[in-house]
């Protein structure tokens, strides 16, 4: 075993562990997949008719719902990380010659995989409800890439929150803002239609450019400016989350 590949191999072992956890705890997956679908049905079938957004409401709302599905999937990660921390298993890993970040990397990758499963289910339901994207193959790749990047970035941020939280309960609570943010963005109605104050917040918060980019990609007319800002936010989440997570991990014995 060479020292260069050891962290990768360790991460793969930890990922296998997290995958088993996910499969054995089907409610987590069910929750992550079901909740966004319920919200989708509610917005498209119940409220959607009353909103005037210029296009079919399902075409308008799907990108926002996809982003919401990511943020909703994060709660389980925060509690899982905190659970690891409080149960003492992390201390076992720390006293072993195991690369430091591998436990955390395992959580982040499994979060990304779980988010993508939720996205796939959501897109399937959207198509059943008449979703009609104009995106070409490259646009689709871009959209999927952005969702992966968002899951990955927000995943690191969530792992950091899970590590920093004092208990499992506060860890779960920590991700609530991430779930609330899409409601205060252009996910369900255009930011222009909001009241003063909320509008400015919606325009400048990270989820709006991400949703707009996704919307553009799926409609086949993406704006380069939004895309740069969206990618920058995702990379920013990842960097801040990573640095925060690793430093917290080292501190907590």
């Amino acid at each position: 075993m060479s020292t260069a590949t050891a962290p990768l191999a360790d991460s793969a072992i930890m990922l296998r562990r997290n995958m088993k956890h996910t499969l054995r705890n089907p409610t987590t997956v069910f929750n992550a997949v079901l909740f966004p679908i319920v919200i989708m049905l509610m917005f498209v079938k119940v409220f959607g008719g009353a909103f005037s957004v210029g296009v079919d409401y399902i075409d308008y709302a799907t990108p926002g719902l996809l982003v919401m599905a990511v943020s909703y999937g994060l709660g389980a990660t925060a509690t899982a990380v905190n659970d690891d921390m409080t149960k003492g298993i992390i201390n076992r890993f720390k006293t072993m010659d195991v690369s430091r970040g591998s436990v955390l990397t395992g959580h982040v990758v499994v979060t990304t995989v779980r988010c993508l499963a939720a996205e796939a289910a959501l897109i399937g339901v959207a198509f059943l409800m008449g979703f009609d994207p104009k995106a070409g193959a490259v646009d689709w790749l871009g959209a999927i890439g952005l969702l992966v990047l968002l899951s990955f970035g927000a995943g690191w941020l969530t792992v950091a929150m899970g590590l920093a939280a004092k208990s499992v309960e506060t860890a779960g609570l920590g991700t609530v803002p991430l779930i609330m943010l899409p409601f205060l963005s252009s996910a369900f109605v255009p930011a222009d239609s909001m009241g003063a104050g909320v509008r400015q917040f919606a325009e400048y918060q990270p989820f709006t450019p991400i949703i707009e980019t996704l919307r553009g990609l799926l409609a086949g007319n993406v704006s380069g400016g939004d895309a740069v800002v969206a990618v920058a936010w995702c990379v920013g989440f990842a960097v801040v989350g990573y640095v925060w997570a690793v430093s917290t991990f080292k501190k907590r014995a």
């Binding site: 072992i13 562990r17 054995r24 003492g88 006293t95």
Partner: protein, 320 residues
Amino acid sequence: MTSSAIAVSGLRKAYGDKVVLDGIDFEVAAGSIFSMLGPNGAGKTTTVNILTTLLTADAGTVRVAGHDVAKATKQVRASIGVTGQFAAVDDLLSGRENLQLMADLKRVGSGDQVVKSLLERFDLEESADKMAVTYSGGMRRKLDLAMTLVGAPKIIFLDEPTTGLDPRSRRTMWGIVRDLVAEGTTIFLTTQYLEEADQLADRIVVLNQGRLVAQGTADELKRQIPGTHVRLRFADPQELGAAARILPAGTPDEEELVLRVPSDGQSRSLRALLDRLDEHALNAQEFSVHSPDLDDVFLALTGDTADVVAQRTDKEAIAR
């Protein structure tokens, strides 16, 4: 290299103003069982955490398996196994998967074989494929220790391994620990149970309020406190007084009506003692031979400090 598996000198650790370890020194010979005794909060777990690289010391040097824990952390981690106070098993994995996870992380060549033999050894085969969350306390401890043994570490740290276990599981654990030492493993054991240290340890240190208050073998420690004596309880103070006059070596306790007479505990000297009472027509209502055990040592060593502190505080209070 010396034959010390662990060498600690001048180890200090404080959290803010609270001094947890106040300069401790000890050595653990390779292939022996070393036991650290102490009441709750004495600093046992902090010591284990420093020795196992979870915490860094404020001062002092610690060498484990010949490596400095501060500088050669990686090498230290590769030579140790740790079973902490709380079972560190993965609840959502089965016993077999938990062991396999350890074998994978330690890159054990024939992992399957190692896992199989550990399950056998710890009598966990029947539940091997059930999730650890369904295990009883004793089984979790066994699984935890089995996980620690994957890859055959040279030095094993056991932090209160039998706390909360029933007597039978405790004895099983002791058997396992003895087998390990027979195979040449070094064991660092912390415990609150004196019987455990007495049963297992080659060498014992007593930690109290961050300092080592005694070290030696169980016998050496027992010798540090008053030896074997006979306790005689009398019906009234007059009889106690009379007995104290004919047995001048004894120490009377007026309140409990008890006379403590030093004795070697042999039958001949006991008979002589009883004859002497008979000659003076004295009858002891209760008669017992008391040899010191580690409990006495422990209470004498750790209780005294507390008493001294209490007295000092009293005096300070009076002075004010």
